[in-house]
């Protein structure tokens, strides 16, 4: 077993990282989280799980029960420039109310994080990336601004994984 593989095996036993991309493929930039999850899946080490979710908060609260570190990625509509990348440490603070509240889902990202916090079911680390969308109308495909931001988030997530590894 090479050194890299040994490192990965050790990590698999001590680190459980879960990345959840959230969105709707058929609503333009709302697909940003899914696009990033699909890119990452091909690039991450074995101890990182990648999931795609449609926005049903209760479902992904269930999925992070066995993870130490969870990273959620979702599109946001907060009025900043399209493609702006927001990063929140949700294990430390509630998400700002102007983000993630446009959803018509009964329990969206912000609400499910707060419900999990009250029920002591938050993972040790919970990072939320929000990518400012430009268009959320019906239709497939993300805008160039969001596509560029998605590439940037993929790079930042690789760095995040590396830092979690160093911290552990």
């Amino acid at each position: 077993m090479n050194k890299n593989k040994i490192t990965q095996t050790i990590c698999a036993n001590i680190l459980r990282i879960l990345i959840i991309g959230i969105g709707n493929t058929y609503r333009g930039d709302d697909a940003a989280g899914l696009v990033i999850a699909r890119h990452l899946r091909k690039q991450v080490p074995d101890y990182v799980s990648v999931l795609e979710e449609s926005g049903n908060g209760i479902a992904f609260m269930e999925s992070w029960k066995n993870a130490d570190t969870v990273i959620l990625i979702d599109a946001v509509h907060s009025g900043t420039k399209p493609g702006t990348i927001h990063r929140f440490d949700a294990s430390a603070h509630p998400l700002p109310s102007e983000f993630f509240c446009y959803s018509t889902h009964t329990f969206g990202v912000a609400e499910i994080i707060e419900l999990a916090r009250v029920l002591n079911q938050l993972p040790s680390h919970l990072i939320v990336y929000g990518i400012e969308g430009k268009r959320f109308e019906a239709g497939i495909g993300i805008s160039p601004e969001v596509n560029k931001a998605a590439q940037e988030v993929v790079n930042r997530l690789r760095q995040d994984i590396h830092s979690f590894l160093k911290e552990s």
Partner: protein
């Protein structure tokens, strides 16, 4: 809110919370009289009926399932039954039982979400389930567990939790083995215990003294508490076959809402959903569900819509009980779907979604291509009754401060667990006092 010499008061709820989709309420009060109530659904129209035209019959269950993320099974069931009616085929035996089991899963997850996370906070004065969870974490946890069991039933039989993929006209793509279903047994037994606790818990809530002379409409089956089949009956004389629906019900376009209002041609507003089913089919509940209802002081006819939360809990007991009965008697069918050839004709389907009857009608050509479609979801059928409730409810509580009145109006709307996404063709709340 504005006040002038004529003492006009407006109550506005711009975004109704804890309902599925986007809707609003506008109420105008002049002195001690309510002068206007508008329950508005502003989620945009979705045109499902239009884009079903020209599609193959076999796409109807999967396309219509997309109308709702909470009750996709209901859409799959009503569309499949309608197509089977058009082609003159009948799904029986274990395939039929498997459909009922799938529906049990959807009722459990949908009712658990509404009872614990959406409606119960109203009875304690909380803003939402997060606030309630701070004081009652164990109860909220149990609600989540119950919902999870419902989801697991849908995932196992339907292939996935939201918008299942295993349902087809004539049956299923894949029939499950007895062993696969047995994996649900212990979870459903635990879920049934939680549902029984929910009945006792909700029975202790403080209910407003509010009853109306409703016309309750639900399916009625000779032997079963209704899911998939039966005649459409009411407590005021309606007794028709599903294919006679259009002769008795009419949809109206109302300027202030994107959802069509459905009414009985002869008598106007009517009430569908758990309370209607319970009142018209109490004798078809399982002994355990009946006993739970009785111990909660509930028997037909219950005319207090706020007590729908107890009835939903009773229906969760029933759905767990029925699921366990089906699994106990299940044998894997020889084929997952019955063979048939599409023929030209018109088919009618009506099944009991968690929120009440869901009517589908399709006209198809010889190749099974859809020529036209009509879909009437339960929330559009309850809209008129929701407005009527508010017309009667608000005058009793005019002395309340506007914020408290607003809160109580939202609570009254949530009695119906309205699904706005389904109805658009729905909540902000405004109260005007004069």
């Amino acid at each position: 809110m504005k006040n002038d010499k004529a003492k006009t008061k407006t109550i506005k709820v711009d975004y109704l919370a804890r309902v599925e989709g986007e809707g609003a309420l506008y109420v105008k009060i002049k002195g001690n009289t309510v002068t206007d109530v508008k329950f508005k659904i502003f989620e945009p129209p979705r045109f499902f009926e239009a884009f079903l035209r020209g599609r193959s019959f076999c796409e109807a269950p999967d396309i219509t399932a997309r109308i709702c993320g909470i009750c996709p099974v209901a859409y799959q069931m009503s569309s499949s039954h309608a197509m089977e009616d058009a082609f003159g085929i009948r799904v029986d035996g274990q395939l039929r039982a498997l459909r009922r089991l799938l529906y049990c899963g959807e009722w459990i997850e949908s009712h658990a979400l509404h009872v614990y996370l959406l409606h119960a906070p109203d009875f304690f004065g909380y803003d939402d389930a997060i606030q309630m969870a701070k004081d009652y974490p164990d109860i909220v946890q149990r609600g989540l567990q119950l919902k999870k069991t419902g989801n697991e039933v849908v995932i196992l039989i339907g292939g996935r939790e939201i918008h299942p993929i295993n349902v087809r006209v004539g049956g299923f793509y894949k029939a499950l083995t007895k062993q696969e279903l047995n994996s649900l047994t212990e979870k459903l037994k635990r879920a049934r215990d939680i549902a029984l606790e929910a009945v006792s818990w909700t029975a202790e809530f403080d209910y407003p003294d509010f009853e109306q002379d409703y016309e309750f409409v639900a399916l009625r089956h000779p032997d079963e508490y209704p899911f998939n089949e039966g005649k459409l009956i009411s407590n005021k004389g309606l007794d028709i076959f599903v294919h006679e629906y259009d002769n008795h019900f009419i949809e109206e376009q109302i300027a202030y809402t994107n959802a069509l209002h459905s009414k009985l041609k002869e008598r106007g507003a009517y009430f569908v959903g758990p309370l209607a089913r319970f009142n018209l089919n109490f004798d078809r509940l399982s002994p355990l569900a009946k006993e739970a209802a009785h111990s909660a002081g509930l028997s037909p006819v219950c005319r207090n819509p706020f007590k729908s939360i107890i009835v939903r809990s009773v229906e969760m007991v029933y759905a767990c009980d029925e699921a366990l009965r089906i699994i106990g008697q299940y044998e894997k069918p020889e084929i997952p779907a019955i063979p048939f050839q599409p023929t030209a004709g018109t088919g009618y389907g009506c099944t009991e979604a968690p929120r009440g009857i869901l009517y589908h009608r399709y006209r198809v050509d010889d190749n099974g291509r859809i020529l036209d479609a009509k879909i009437v979801p339960s929330t559009s059928q309850n809209q008129k009754t929701i407005e009527n409730d508010l017309w009667q409810f608000i005058p009793k509580y005019l002395d309340l401060p506007s914020e408290k009145l607003k809160y109580d109006c939202e609570k009254a709307i949530r009695n119906y667990d309205p699904c706005i996404s389904c109805a658009t063709h729905f909540l902000k709340l405004n109260i005007d006092r004069e």
